[in-house]
Amino acid sequence: MSELLHANGIVKRFGSFTALKGVTFRLRAGEIHALMGENGAGKSTLIKVLTGVHEADGGTVTVAGRGIRAASPREAEAAGISTVYQEVNLLPNLSVAENILMGRQPMRGPFIRHGEVKRRARAALARLGLEVDVGALLGSFPVAVQQMTAIARALDQEARVLILDEPTSSLDARESEELFAVMRRLRGEGMGIVFVSHFLDQIYAVSDRITVLRDGALVGTWEAAGLPRLELVSHMIGKEVTASSGDGGVVCGGGAEAFRVEGLERRGVVGPLTFSVAAGEATGLAGLLGSGRTETARMLFGIDGATGGRVKAGGEEVALGSPRAAMAAGLAFCSEDRKVEGIIPSLSVRENIVLAMQASRGVLRRVPRAEQEALAAKFIAALNIRTRGPETPIGTLSGGNQQKCLLARWMAMQPRLLILDEPTRGIDVGAKAEIEALCGELRRAGMSILFISAELEEVVRNCSRVVVLRDRRQAAVLDGPAISLRTIMETVAAS
């Protein structure tokens, strides 16, 4: 098989951060090639370099032996590289036909030949085995059809390389199957397809080869048939699976059940999940990127409400329809993206700490200033927050210290269940250890914690129960002695 695309030694920097450290990627004609990696691996950056959204700082890209330098999506398309993004990047306010031919409409003088536009659109869709009213607005069709429209757009511009960036994340099983059929058909026609997905089952269902990236570097490329799942997972998270890596979790304290989640689900997003959280213990949520960890947290906290199932606190059912209701039920949520959903950078450390408490009291009953200052002083000392003072804007603090302020905010509420989504992401090693120690203290004080982390070792160290998620479903619940890196990875990799 001939080589279609060869990206050699691609380097991409954003300021002082190097997102791609000389990545090499080869795509053959007539293959489906999965691109895998956890958060920050550099998958999306590589795709954006290939499609001309980002310009590489180093390295070369050749398509069918010809060097290209795509500085814009238009140039990449001209070179034969087309992309279908996860969030279908088309125009719902225009017709299906226009979406397929936008920018390349057949013209007569200055005027578009609308009849010809429709004819070519129908022809492109026919190659995918799809027949729809191409004159109807794209927005009136389900996502699956919109995705086919995006692929048809690529076909019409005679793309040789098709990049599918998480195309199945909003499709149901049947729609995914149809997409795979189309992918196989296009592969048969000699197209090279780059397939990004978080669903291992899907990767193995259609891929010929698999390339894994980690931390902006190439880990390797393998034939899919010759790469066991467990090995793939270990390549992705960068941990060797050895017999000795099972240093059991925190021993169950045998705490009373504080919360019980029964069949909780948000249809089409995550679940159903069933597990219980013991008082004074940490329950972990583990799984690969896209396995539904954050979605679970958001569902529990009522941000994206559940569509089915129940949550019981101390044996009684509680309604968790909104964040307010969740807070009233004793939940607190420290979000993954602290910059966007957590801190308010221009407010002071003190103001950020008392925020949730103030919110729960309502606007009219202000937390007295003296109490605010006492709280801020207490947490700054207790959590060892390094700030010049309680009145320093929080935006000037380091990531780890911001994170501690967020923890303080929720600890001030004295919740019964604290949901920590990636509490250690992007902070230095010392701060990580401090956060983990803090979790231990909170547990001892009787608080339950739902601990979410992409770092499996952290989950193993801190949790006495681990809910393993796979493909947005609950794969297993591991208790105490059963918790180890190996068992979690095996559960994640199981088919």
Binding site: S72, Y85, N89, L91
Partner: protein
């Protein structure tokens, strides 16, 4: 659709309520009276379709009228040359606004607000008060037009209006530029990822709108034979209202030039009804326009909701 029904309903109601309302002369006067607003509203429709807004149109129109009065009366330019120059200035002004909006990523609202003050101020610099335009060309044009029989004449102003509407419809629907405007208003990020010329389209849209505003000014001088720096105050809002009543969605990407045409006629009809009925307070013109606008916005919202569900 709804817009057309409202227009018909207005006419039927007015025809029933007032004698002689349903006559060709009334309709013709309506066109003559609203031609300048109509042309400006077509330009505004393109801007709104692209997801933007242009608040400077009224001021640009006012500037055009005093500019014409000054260069024709004061400097002795030939009228056709002056008109071309005026439209050219309008286009240039619009292009500049578009460039600032796009390349500095400043909200169109702010840039064109500044443009509005700028153009209005320039109008006052050219002439602080109303100036009459004396020109053989103007007198001659006033006589000409498309005879419709029975001594009725479709004069040049409304004629330009109809041509602009027709051209606007063709451009919006049948050219790449027009479709790119819809794409830009639909989703800018997607449009860029599809390789469409986002920047050029946005800049050009404001050029079109500026040109239309200046052309509106030219028509206004044809009708009134004078330039006035205070003319067209609040015109930008009337133009936006006409576009929205005509079914163009303020967030961009959806709408029709023909709808705007109907919107202008609706606003004009309400005004004509008030003119016919001497006993009504002119304030009702504003109140009726406001009520209609609110009704149409709610209607758009309901339609959008239905589509989602």
């Amino acid at each position: 659709m709804a817009t057309g029904l409202v227009l018909v309903a207005l006419f039927v109601a007015a025809g029933a309520g007032y004698e002689n309302f349903l006559s060709a002369r009334v309709v013709l006067n309506l066109f003559k009276d609203r031609a300048f607003l109509g042309v400006v509203a077509v330009g505004m429709t393109f801007v709104i379709l692209s997801g933007g807004i242009d608040l400077s149109v009224g001021a640009v129109m006012a500037f055009t009228t005093v500019f014409l009065a000054k260069v024709i009366g004061g400097l002795g330019w030939s009228a056709p040359v002056a008109m071309l120059a005026a439209v050219g200035i309008g286009v240039g002004f619009g292009l500049f606004q578009g460039w600032v909006i796009h390349y500095f990523r400043i909200p169109a609202f702010l840039v064109t607000l500044a443009g509005m003050f700028l153009a209005r101020g320039m109008a006052f610099v050219v002439s602080p008060r109303s100036v009459e335009i004396r020109s053989a060309f103007y007198d001659d044009l006033g006589e000409r037009g498309l005879p419709l029989g029975e001594g009725l004449l479709l004069t040049v102003g409304p004629l330009i209006y109809l041509v602009v509407v027709a051209a606007g419809m063709v451009v919006a629907h049948g050219t790449r530029f027009g479709r790119n405007v819809y794409a830009l208003g639909g989703n800018e990020a997607s449009a860029a990822l599809m390789g469409l010329p986002v920047g050029a389209t946005r800049v050009a849209v404001y050029g079109v709108c500026g040109g239309c505003a200046a052309l509106g000014g030219v028509i206004s001088t044809l009708a009134l034979s004078s330039g006035d720096p205070t003319r067209g105050t609040g015109l930008e809002l009337d133009a936006i209202a006409a576009a929205v009543i005509g079914g163009t969605v303020l967030t961009g990407g959806r709408g029709w030039v023909f709808g705007t045409f109907l919107g202008v006629l609706i606003l004009g009809t309400i005004k004509t009804i008030l003119d016919f009925d001497g006993s009504l307070d002119p304030a009702w013109l504003r109140i009726a326009s406001g009520g209609l606008l609110l009704g149409f916005i709610l209607l758009q919202k309901l339609i959008a909701r239905q589509r989602v569900s």
